[in-house]
Amino acid sequence: MPTVSVKRDLLFQALGRTYTDEEFDELCFEFGLELDEITSEKEIISKEQGNVKAAGASDVVLYKIDVPANRYDLLCLEGLVRGLQVFKERIKAPVYKRVMPDGKIQKLIITEETAKIRPFAVAAVLRNIKFTKDRYDSFIELQEKLHQNICRKRALVAIGTHDLDTLSGPFTYTAKRPSDIKFKPLNKTKEYTACELMNIYKTDNHLKHYLHIIENKPLYPVIYDSNGVVLSMPPIINGDHSRITVNTRNIFIECTGTDFTKAKIVLDIIVTMFSEYCENQFTVEAAEVVFPNGKSSTFPELAYRKEMVRADLINKKVGIRETPENLAKLLTRMYLKSEVIGDGNQIEIEIPPTRADIIHACDIVEDAAIAYGYNNIQMTLPKTYTIANQFPLNKLTELLRYDMAAAGFTEVLTFALCSQEDIADKLGLDISATKAVHISNPKTAEFQVARTTLLPGLLKTIAANRKMPLPLKLFEISDIVIKDSNTDVGAKNYRHLCAVYYNKNPGFEIIHGLLDRIMQLLDVPPGEDKGGYVIKASEGKTDEPNPELVKVSGGGYTLFLMKLVILIWDFRKKGR
């Protein structure tokens, strides 16, 4: 869940009233937000770097607010305030308008070289904007929040914002060999080639995370103006030439990416949020994007979509009985302008460009429920009549667990993931013989494979408990995983029972007795002739007293163990 940090006083000023922390927390809860933390810059720095460094930092109270991952329209102060004000019916949701410029429309021409690396681009212009320090900071911060969330760390979409007055269109979005790209990037004093930049940014704590997106590609994406000035090399860095400042009045925004839908959403969010500060509030100047095939479109889309939902559907899905008029009012409070039409049971809902998360009627139903107040909904029990069944394997497991404890053995719970060494080398087996499934991206050796036997976990438990009085009698009933090409995923779980007896004296007869007891519990008689069980020496090393095993657990003691694969269907099939 993304966290947005806003200055409390600025927030209250924009909301037109103050709240106590508890009141604001309550409002957040109701709206589906979470007031995660109340802090200040000073407190943050002092927590992370100590009191000394925090000495000069700001005391201004910050609210850190958790926002649902699909509400990109709430990722900045402007959006939060608009959402809450509409929710509280203090303002009407603004209508966002795309307008054509008086003069020539700004053009962004996409060349076909971009196809293989970052094929999509959209653009728009914010005209006559008025920034303050706080507004400017919020503008930058929103881009960062979008980059981290919907843009998937710039892999899907990257945003570039430029001072239009320093540039001259039309703009060209193309891709070039890194050695052929040369410009002065943001916050540097001289020009570098793209190759040099990629090297420099390897040690940049912020930018190094994005290099991999284009690093090994033959061509890098780049945007030029008509004079050959580099606007940006997405998704890494903008040019210094067109950098925006608090004083910038006209902003050219470009979003490039590999996901066209998301690029359009990101552009819509930025312009809807910050057109608030334009001379003509909530209007955005269109830009034309020319595609490699010669066709062109204007952006931002700022599309308003109409959905029709029946009032009784909303009532039925939520479990309430509201009039269509009331439901329309509830939805309008959620930034979804709605009215009752037709037979009086139909609600027409207008989905604004800020609400890209509304993709189905169920999203509208949820918003109606939120506005109604989840905690005002009458709780009822469904009349669903069902007979419960246990899963047979788990039922048997439960029964056996209790009787294993009754037999004096103590249950342990160990990890299903472990190292290759645990299931192979330490047991004297070759890893290929284990038929284990292998994890491709383990962060440490502890997560290399799924266990193929419960034994390592039991032995490690003994090793960690050598101070406990002897004997240790331990068991575990749980799943192991083996590769199996007969299943749809190519691997299969098996339920194992594994028990160990650990003492100063050999105790084979004890583990043997436990096996006999388990067989008794499973109603399997001894003796092959009776269709029962026999114990035979195993070829494998793990089924006999093995000094290697004892070494694993770290004691000088003798240790016996048993493993038993529970195959209940096998017992049944034999049908003694």
């Binding site: 589906g32 169920c362 905690n375 069902t386 103590t410 249950e411 719970l413 990890f415 994890i439 491709s440």
Partner: protein, 467 residues
């Protein structure tokens, strides 16, 4: 043992005194002089070869002591090897004098420093003498009458028990704990959750497949292929077997269409859906993948029959580990599928479920989950922490998930989930998850853990005084 003492027949008071005694070597020195004095005396005026001196019984120890006392010197330039000469004409053998003082019972005349020096040389030893002063006890008697500790069959048959004195039981002593096995606390809680679901008429879903395809874990749940949960940083993917061998291709096509183009009343996500991505095998990140399989199987059965399902099993996350997060944990999941289920029904079922856990104060917060809409987080008021804490997550499965499976349009599926570890840690007062799960767990904790009675009053947290 305490319970054998039949009563205070006698009182015994322990008195201990300390005194200084000479060791065997100390005795010898008191008698014959210190080693250094003996060395000094053995050197004639014309000196003595050092090699010869060293052969004397006191030679080695005495030589170095006499040297440091500056009683003797060594002439290394002598013709036939180093030779030792007296430096002074006479000396006082302080060591012998002091030891003789101690021998004479006047150890107190020596200073603390002098005594400890002699003790270091192992000439003196401090001896503690323990004595008991015995006097008559309150139940003093000169005749012995043994109190019986146990009632025997003979006493009963002869009736002699009527006249015998019996020793009273000592209830303050600890009893002998029975030898027994123990169940693991987390799995005791698991048993209780199973029990609750069964009491509520929920059928257990099969979950015995830790390995799952991305398709069932994500795509089937309408979780888009670029979703951050599908990142290498969050999910364990498999190198071998890297890909699922079979997928239900008809259904896969419907899922693909819903993601990339929409349908079933949905706009879809409008991106290029890739089969390769769906085939990628992983360690399931939630048991909802098993729920998806169960619902898909349900959808293939015609006509539709309402169901209530549950599961409790392991899930895996490639996350940063801390005191409350491990790479694997148990997820509890409940699912109800029926015609016309509402959000109010979901809340009603949750209320019943949490009541059985002993949690009655509930509150619901709007939330976002990729595969449920509406979604709600469940909060309960924690008396100890004096605040609302999240106890579970829930919602109504999206139509984009259910309809491609083939479920009828008017069937709704409500679901909720929580972790098994969190309520267990709260229940047993455990702060670090490593003290509960895994091989490093202290077996004593397993031995000592009480029954799991979720609906009983929880033990009050220890106060400052108790701690």
């Amino acid at each position: 043992p305490q319970w054998l003492l039949a009563g205070p027949i006698i009182e015994a008071e322990l008195r201990s005194t300390k005194r200084w005694e000479l060791t065997a070597e100390g005795e010898e020195i008191a008698r014959e002089g210190s080693h250094e004095a003996r060395v000094f005396r053995s050197i004639p005026p014309e000196g003595l070869a050092q090699s010869e001196l060293m052969r004397l019984p006191s030679g080695k120890v005495g030589f170095s002591k006499a040297m440091s006392n500056k009683w003797i010197r060594v002439d290394k330039s002598a013709a036939d090897g180093p030779r030792v000469f007296r430096v002074v004409d006479s000396m006082e053998d302080e060591v012998q004098r002091r030891l003789q003082l101690v021998q004479g019972g006047q150890a107190e005349k020596l200073g603390e420093k002098e005594r400890s020096e002699l003790r270091k040389r192992k000439l003196l030893a401090e001896v503690t003498l323990k004595t008991y002063w015995v006097s008559k006890g309150s139940a003093f008697s000169t005749s012995i009458s043994k109190q019986e500790t146990e009632l025997s069959p003979e006493m009963i048959s002869s009736g002699s028990w009527r006249d015998r004195p019996f020793k009273p039981y000592n209830f303050l002593a600890h009893g002998v704990l029975p030898d027994s096995g123990h169940l693991h606390p987390l799995l005791k809680v698991r048993s209780q959750f199973r029990q609750i679901f069964l009491e509520m008429g929920f059928t257990e879903m099969p979950t015995y497949n830790f390995i799952e395809s991305s398709f069932w874990n994500f795509d089937a749940l309408f979780q888009p292929q670029q979703h951050p949960a599908r990142d290498q940083h969050d999910t364990f993917f498999l190198r071998d077997p890297a890909e699922a061998l079979q997928l239900p291709m008809d259904y896969v096509q419907r899922v693909k269409r819903t993601h990339s183009q929409g349908g079933y009343g949905s706009q879809g996500y409008k991106y290029t859906w890739k089969l390769d991505e769906a085939r990628k095998n992983l360690l399931r990140t939630h048991t909802t993948s098993a729920s998806a399989r169960a619902l898909y199987r349900l959808a293939q059965k015609k006509p539709f029959t309402p169901v209530k399902y549950f599961s409790i099993d392991r899930v895996f996350r490639n996350e940063t580990l801390d005191a409350t997060h491990l790479a694997e944990f148990h997820q509890i999941e409940g699912v109800v599928a029926d015609h016309g289920l509402t959000l109010g029904h979901l809340m009603g079922v949750l209320r019943e479920f949490f009541t059985k856990l002993g949690i009655t104060q509930l509150r619901f917060k709007p939330a976002y989950n990729p595969y449920t809409e509406p979604s709600m987080e469940v909060f309960s008021y924690h008396q100890g922490l004096k605040k609302w804490v999240e106890v579970g997550n829930s919602g109504v499965f999206r139509p984009e998930m259910l309809l491609p499976m083939g479920l009828p349009e008017n069937v709704s599926v409500i679901a909720w989930g929580l972790s098994l570890e969190r309520p267990t840690m709260i229940k047993y007062g455990i702060n670090n998850i490593r003290d509960l799960v895994g091989h490093k767990v202290n077996l004593q904790m397993v031995y000592d853990s009480p029954l799991c009675r979720l609906d009983a009053e929880p033990r009050p947290p220890p106060t400052q005084e108790a701690a």
